[in-house]
Amino acid sequence: MVRSKASITVVFLAAFGLVGCGLGSDDGEDRPVEVSGEVDGTVTLQTWALKPNFTDYVEEVIAGFEAEHPGVTVQWLDQPGEGYSEKVLSQAASGDLPDVVNLPPDFALPLARQGILLDVESADEALHDEYVAGGISAYEFAGVDGVFGYPWYLNTDVNYWNGELLDEHGLDSDHPPATVEELMDQARIMSEESGGDMYLISRKPELGDLVKAGIPVLSDDGSEFVFNTAEAAALLDEYREAFDEGLMPRDVLTDAYLGNSQLFIEEKVAWSTGGGNFINGVRESNPSLAEKIVPSMAFGTPPLYVQGLSVARDTSNPAAAVALARWITNADNQAEFARIVPGIFPSTTASADDPFFTESDGTGDDDAKVIAFDSLAQAELLQPVEVDEAMSTIVNQQISLAISGDVTSQEALDTAVSRLNAMLDTP
């Protein structure tokens, strides 16, 4: 009996000891990192879902880097699209983050706050000259000084309309809606003309739609959410009326974005949004639809989507890691990438006048590309990077309640803001 009690005690003590391992500290956060010096040795690169479609391109870029710096070896690791955030989280928690890693800004924020990423601004004097301001600011975060990633490729949203459906239901495909108000009016016409069988709208608003409408989401100092304004409530009211009138399918309440694009591909709705390469994707599923699509600029402020390359602060080879991140994101390599993947755009200032992005050959695909490129000049990160997955879920749930009429728009916004502020307060 005594022995068994002793054994249990040992097990519990060991377990508590192991538990303690999870509650670590952030030692060494302010230690300067030396990035100058010879570029040699081994450096690891992690990308996100680029194999197998872009294997040749990445291998070519790596070969170019190794030729430029003899003596350096790049070990490339590509992670699958699903579960990437969990993968990066486990790598960061266990101290195994690759030297150079593809991180969108919302992934980079918590890592930067934990001192896991290198401030590339302090390591690179030419940063602000070579990359567009919007791309750089995406990697600047409230509460931490510095820039925590080289902006890589950019994207934005474009409105896509099924021209044939618009014309069939009393609308003009040459003049699709340019504002949310016009969208509601034309959705009403389409519903009347089709006897309620055809929808123009098949999505409910999200946090980003509030920003598009000029409503601030987060206070300037990032300390509290402030989007529970009368303007925001009025915007939700418009959608609520549209929902009430049957201008959108009921299942928008369960918030399936894929539902929206899928319905568009199946020609059951006449409007969708997507990146500059959306028509190309549609062509694979519904070739006849691709030719009917009319692109136009997104409503209000276009969203900015950024992918970037961050450098691990604890890299054993900082000189090679910074050089590799710069190499992959330089103007030539980005321009080459954007030619392979229509719809993405370089984040380098040198690419601004490239006629490939500014001139259209008159096809829908090329029109969309030019519209998207033009939109980037006004595009902004619509959702603050502070908004994590749980926060997005809560906002979407409250917007659903407002749209369905279960609570007033103001009540829904107040609840969302109160819950999000409580989560923001949690250290």
Partner: protein, 315 residues
């Protein structure tokens, strides 16, 4: 054996005794660590994957830990937060309704199904397989099938409207209670085959002679079911009830699948496990609050199990 060994030792105190003595000593010398060696893998597994995570959860519930952050002691703040969390109230109601509906249906229906497919009829294997198929169907396939069925433009609404039973679509996937009961139907559809197999094995142990004797005494089908079959599978039934209770209180997949992970309009069709998942995910997940919710779930799951165990002991 011990006496023999002692005798052998007396006979050859300095080793080099008989072969019997050497062998028994060798066995006895190995004995003290052999059992430990045999149970070691199981103990290690238990400590690493059960005991440690459980203790870790309790510790984390009193901290504000994040996946990347250190986390400091916050006392009972996470438990106090539960009192103000109206989403938790919805989740608890959903989980309890789930359990209350699933428990009787999944206890009785699989038994009736097992009685039907127990008969040795031509082609009965086909039916057994068909009833079991939902159990092995992948979550993605199940999600597609049920979304096609229950969508506003899905098969059920389309058929009901074309037959004139409905003037407009029933909001199976967007109304709180319809969504909850749709998820319960999905659970029952998936669970029938699983519990049917368990009942089938239990029915094999119910004596045929008892049925025959009861029939000779004039008992009808219902009487024999209540007085012979049910007592015969009583222990299995209790086991199944416990399994259903635990899995109903911990429901996740069905609600997640049918709501696209949103928890339905307003998040009012979330279960406690969905809440835990929502709060713990991502780089900034609140592990402290998620752990406190896990402890609450553990407590409310253990409660009904204890009640059932006591009922079993008393009867």
């Amino acid at each position: 054996m011990v006496l023999l060994a002692n005798r052998d030792r007396r006979r050859a105190p300095h080793g080099g005794g008989t072969r019997t003595g050497t062998a028994s000593r060798s066995i006895r010398q190995q004995r003290w660590f052999a059992p430990l060696l045999l149970v070691a893998p199981a103990v290690v597994w238990l400590v690493v994957f059960n005991i440690w995570p459980s203790i870790n959860t309790v510790v984390l519930a009193f901290t504000n830990a994040k996946p990347l952050g250190g986390g400091s002691f916050v006392g009972t703040a996470n438990f106090e937060r539960m009192l103000d969390d109206d989403q938790l109230v919805y989740a608890l109601i959903n989980s309890i309704v789930y359990m209350l509906v699933c428990l009787p249906l999944l206890t009785v229906l699989p038994l009736l199904l097992a009685l039907l497919v127990e008969k040795r009829l031509p082609g009965i294997t086909f039916f057994r397989t068909a009833f079991y198929t939902p159990v092995i169907a992948s979550a993605v396939v199940v999600a597609l099938i049920w979304n096609w069925l229950l969508d506003d433009r899905g098969a059920i609404n389309a058929i009901a409207q074309s037959l004139g039973f409905l003037s407009g679509p029933l909001p199976f996937l967007t109304d709180r209670w319809l969504l909850l009961f749709s998820a319960i139907s999905l659970t029952i559809w998936k669970g029938l085959g699983y519990y049917m197999i368990i009942y089938l094995s239990a029915l094999g142990n119910v004596s045929r002679e008892l049925h025959e004797a009861a029939a000779v005494d004039g008992a009808g089908v219902v009487r024999r079911f209540l007085s012979v079959t049910v007592p015969g599978v009583r222990n299995t039934m209790l086991l199944i009830m416990v399994l259903i209770m635990v899995s109903a209180l911990r429901v996740f997949s069905e609600l997640f699948i049918l709501t696209n992970g949103t928890g339905g309009p307003g998040g009012r069709v979330m279960s406690v496990v969905m809440l835990i998942q929502m709060y713990s995910r991502g780089f900034t997940g609140n592990l402290g609050y998620a752990s406190a919710l896990s402890i609450l779930l553990f407590v409310i799951t253990v409660g009904p199990m204890v009640v059932l165990a006591r009922m079993n002991r008393r009867s």
